[in-house]
Symmetry: D2
Subunit: 453 residues, 4 copies
């Protein structure tokens, strides 16, 4: 049995390539399907099936293009009505070499969710692993809010039943293969443990110890953000996205070419760490760290050309692939070899303030400041600086009027990355006297400074 787990940095997505005796299947392929074709070539094996666990909302799925390149058949659940592939029902079985794959209807995250168990027929008749999509994660369970407030209780109940009546009865021994790891927007408490079994989850995942009422109450109380780009992903994943091929080739641009594109309206995405960015950036840039690229989906329009400023040229391909996974394909190019070219040409740069938490504390005692906490509502409620305002970073443009602008502003998040992004959003909107708090609330708490819940 060949088992390859493909991790993608952005959206912390996990897909699976599983094979046996000359055949294989892929679960939830991302758009950059070269990786699966390479695995097929490496193992000299045919991809026979593609299984989708659900209509994804946080990245573009690559099923159609992978099917076109391999002749594989696509299967997914019945909801929503996806315009390609086949619907698979609870209990449907598939043979892949010596493996038997069985579909399970596991609604909850969405009504049409499917899980897929894998049984190695050479060695027994009970499943050894299960791909659970966005229903059951390591340490967490999937969101149940995509049906809107009117459906959240029903969907949460479905999820409870799917987990307790369909998944856990498979046995403690079964290896768990979810669709996301730690860092995903699809589950805020996903553990950083990388390997788990249903039995490990029964012990360590507190949501599995709840009874039905507790679980529904818990899920209903969760507060998730809904990024604007989700809407676009949902449409593309129903209709089938355009082909990706080998992905965009992004041109190296000289300072003059780069400037021309800016004048033409292209938008700069600068992936450097916030302190580097803050020391000197090109006016109008978004500062989106490579580890948080999917945040782009909150603010970056789909109809504009994108220009890249990279912290490290070696990250070009990861950056491009990451943005392409959430649908950004129109790259004008990147500044070569780095932002230093811009400095060397004496082009104008902007700068942001940087504050350590001890500096912030000192300033707060002496002056009037606006502390703007850009974390999620859940994080804010768990502990924040007194008198701070909470606006989630992705929604800053919509809440611009709520921010007092006469006083200096200190943006804070957990560590400094999202607040760096927030600083760049505000600066782009013309706000001045913006400062990023290095180390964020983690540093604030480490220093023992006061906070309220």
């Amino acid at each position: 049995m060949i088992f390859e787990r493909q991790k993608s940095k952005i959206v912390s997505h996990l897909s699976y390539f599983i094979g046996s005796a000359g055949s294989a299947f892929v679960v939830d392929p991302t758009r950059d399907i070269q990786q699966y074709l390479e695995l097929a070539k490496k193992h000299g094996i045919r991809i026979k099936y593609i299984f989708e666990t659900h209509r994804n909302e946080d990245y573009i799925i690559g099923s159609l293009e992978l099917a076109k390149n391999t002749g594989a058949e696509i299967f997914h659940g019945p909801w929503p009505t996806i315009k390609y592939g086949n619907v698979v029902e609870d209990g449907d079985e598939f043979t892949v070499g010596n493996l038997k794959v069985t579909a399970l209807a596991t609604p909850g995250h969405t009504p049409g969710c499917r899980s897929y168990t894998v049984t190695d027929m050479e060695t027994g008749s009970r499943p050894v692993l299960v791909c659970t999509g966005d229903v059951l994660f390591i340490g967490d369970t999937g969101r149940t809010d995509f049906g809107g407030p009117e459906n959240i209780k029903k969907w949460s109940r479905w999820m409870y039943e799917s987990i307790q009546e369909k998944l856990l009865p498979l046995g403690d021994h079964v290896i768990l293969c979810p669709a996301h790891g730690s860092g995903s927007v699809c589950g805020s408490r996903i553990a950083s443990r990388e390997y788990s079994t249903l039995g490990i989850e029964k012990i360590m995942n507190p949501q599995l110890a709840m009874n039905q009422d507790e679980f529904i109450k818990y899920k209903t109380a969760e507060r998730h953000n809904y990024a604007p780009y989700f809407k676009r992903m949902e449409v593309l994943n129903v209709e089938g996205a355009s082909e990706y091929g080998i992905g965009p080739i992004v041109n190296a641009l000289s300072v003059n070419e780069f400037e021309d594109y800016i004048n033409y309206g292209a938008i700069v995405v600068d992936t450097r760490p916030p302190p580097s960015f803050g020391s000197g950036y090109i006016k109008g840039s978004y500062n989106i760290s490579i580890d948080r690229l999917s945040m782009a989906g909150w603010v970056l329009p789909y109809n504009e050309l994108i220009l890249l400023v990279l912290g490290n040229k070696a990250e070009l391909n990861d950056t491009v692939t990451g943005l392409a996974r959430i649908g950004y394909d129109n790259f004008a190019g990147y500044l070569t070899p780095s932002i230093v070219s811009w400095y060397l040409k004496a082009k104008p740069v902007e700068r942001l303030g940087m504050l350590t938490t001890s500096e912030l504390r000192a300033r707060l005692e002496m002056e009037e400041w606006t502390v703007l906490d850009v974390r999620s509502a859940e994080e804010y409620e768990a502990g924040h600086i007194e008198n701070s305002i909470n606006i989630y970073v992705g929604t800053l443009p919509q809440h611009l009027t709520e921010i007092p602008k006469e006083k200096p502003i200190a943006l804070i998040c957990k560590s400094g990355t999202r607040s760096g992004f927030g600083c760049s959003i505000l600066a782009r909107l013309g706000v001045t006297n913006i400062n990023n708090v290095m180390g964020g609330m983690t540093s604030w708490l480490a220093a023992g400074y006061p906070f309220i819940k």
Copy 2:
């Protein structure tokens, strides 16, 4: 948690590199320790501990050299008295980043066997995986015959208790990390499944369903071979082997240089597939397929220079590392670029007969032949050709007088690889009229020809 499983082709050995928060430990490192140092460099992590599950008998362990290079501490069980490292007792605990490692005394394979459980303290207090060494494999359990016939019952009982009372109680959810995979001499029934849990083993490993008496009876009836090289491994693994560094650099030799070494007494190991070998080989060569390199330990002396003829130059390093893992370090060189050089120089070659099973069957009906089955006694007993003689391939030199030499000889094994090795052994000893059966007993049975048990 960083989890890297290192597979080594030869002896199907599995070692583990497991880390967390800047520290790591290695379980049962092989002699070519570069792989662990590279993992340490890749993850930017310090190897703090080396855990041995037992004194190995089938390969040279790399603990001492790895410790020397990293400052790691070595731990192993109390038996036999190993001349380096520290003894670890049942229940001893170690902290590695956020992980807790607990030693379990699990005698059976040897009296001093240790297993090591790993608990991720960030997420709970129960173990998530266990390294079981040669006690519990996927689909099999370890040999219990190394203490000799007088101890086999006692050691088998220990193993039963170790598995049933120490390992299985850890929980069905626990991921199983044994020291060998399919193909090892340390367990004849190891499954080719690569991932398992204690729960999966409870379902699929028939030996775990036996009661104590059944288990002891079963283990006592097992028949294993004891390769001569084991003795050498045991000594080296008690005393600590010589340093390996980056391993031998093996010289490319011209035909004349190669011939000079042969005349000087060096022994040729030819790793080509048996049909290629049989079509034209250098007199005196052993034909040892790269997939079965550890068979060399049956016949290859430790005090002679080794010459290599390769099927594929790209396999040079795997071949050298494989032989070095079982203690062969003295390489005179390899024939460059391939055996064709030998042919081009019109040097003398020997040839072996090849038979398909249909040809063998036809010959047996017409002539007197000696059919020599070189598989293990267990395999032979499960089904063989009538009137065939069974001598295990590794022991052919000691049983030479038992082989009738006046008739043509057909060597047969399961597929043709071991019989190819056997042909080369006999030819080297001066036997003539030797033929290799292509496809072996598998082909014979596929053709529906008669056999007896």
Copy 3:
């Protein structure tokens, strides 16, 4: 200046990726254009131009698909009238970063051949390297016979003038970048030296020391083979071949699937070394060594499915890419994991005789044999076994009636590879009692056996 030379195993083709300051050009890209896209991504550079030195006849050029993927402009000479790209005239100049590329009209190999000089404008105004296509090789010059016997003198004169009046005057210091290395059908004397300059060629390439009459006489006397697949390449390279994408994904086939395809008419290409092949092959197979894959173009039809038997699964991709470069795209699959599967299932195999040269000599003294020398006419004339017949391996099917079949046949070439191919061709045509001479004429001569010129 970025300089990447891309070697392709098959047809010994060399293409070049040369760049500077964010832009690059490619000279003579092969069909598997992923390599250039990967270089563009690796260097973060835009491919601005594609230059063809001539309409190729021995492989499919990838210009159109590379242009489509990158937006690059294509340039080539005016002959023949290629249905894509632009015609470039002698002296046309292009700017690529800090480089200046200048086209030179260098007819001879064909009337429309172009060479391209590269000048690094940062460091001076004289060219530092020149891409010479099939006009000037390292140690040889290109064929001048593609215009037919009526044009060979004229084209040879053109070539003389191109070399002596256009290329050599560029200066001894200029680095030489030809389109083929040693082993190509485009020049029989290409040296195995990999790096050269025009000055080195003036010293070491004897054809550059000839005067015009000598050169024309020399070229006119050359004898080249014209493989049937050239015709197809020429058409595809005028019209633009179909897109290749990531290339064929070749399926792993079980023995039964493989047999089904054979029954359906698919043709087996077996890439094992001749001794392995001869020991047991599937009836009807062509034995084409991976190092000589382009020989397939002599016998393999373009309208049949191809089945592969590999010596080494690791060579699957090289084999597929190699065949695809000369237009073979229809792969039914390959036998997994190897020919041994076939043996294990007791499927019928054929066998060929093997002879060492000493055996051949002994047989010739005792019996009547047909010695069939399958090398080129030039090689044959330089020294062969008395009474041997010369038929070039690729043309065996057309000359079948000239081969005496009542006597045993020994096929011989230089080393045993082409004769192995020849054996498989004859066997497929029903000829029996075929033997391959191991080590070929090289071995015969090394043994000091008699030969005639």
Copy 4:
């Protein structure tokens, strides 16, 4: 002929691995000899000889350790009296496969310099390439100042004769293989062209067009810095450095461990870009960009532990290897995963000022500033800001008293990297009000601001 050019980032060193028919030689191996052993393994070839062009002063040579691992013989010139290997005289010849290597005495950079020509005997009797060490570079010639002012004229004359009478007569066609590329301290004008021939140099290297008097005058006028670490390299390269093995394994350190080492006296080297560094660094750190690691040799003591703060964890090994090449082996560890850990723990940070050139210009018009130009004397003389002070960055500690400290200080270099290093040196020495000029003099000139020569 196998030709592998090994580039090393630090000190822009080039070494060569050249082989043929089973044997190879290495010219000027660096200390991390794994690369040559890997090449030997990859090509399946024996390293027979190691040739040193001269006693190096800017990096540790790996000859002794490479010889110990391979059995190769070492050869070098007679000056100084190196305590290992053999002296080679002008005209000495060596056979390596089909290659002939000939030593040439080419004094000038040092009295004992040797060049090595390579002739491919298969194709002719004239050399095809020459390894010239530090005598002739691409676009430049080597330093002649290591013998002190009293010898510079004599050594320059020797160099003139070596180039004009020994090297250039080899022929325009000869490929040039020097010991350094662009960026080396061994030649300030080395061109960024990567491939050259003696003929190309005759055209493009202005120093080759000078007559003897001009050349001596030119070389005598050159002004080079002599880094303190050179002295140590010279001693190690005469005596043979300690073994390097696989190089230091550098531990990942938590914030607390890192802080403990600082308190213990370890010195922090922070390789982030100056703007990142300036935004928040650990007190006492040196800011040494990865592209300029050898600058460490000016200030970093050899007897202290080194702590690393990395811009990118992927650069750990390059950083460690780079420092080790100039003799720094004592690494306490690196901060994991990055400086952000430090911020998160609310540990104290220092900050530096950043100025664009337009800001600098504006400030200079309004206030009294010290402009400290830390480039080399040669660069300074070619154009600098009026009233700026020139102290080479490496010598800042020795010239501390010359820097006015009552006014704010702006450090400037060519681009901002060396001035960032300078800022960190001054800050470490207690200087305050330090600012780094982004884009340096390049930006100043690009902006069209006034300068004087």
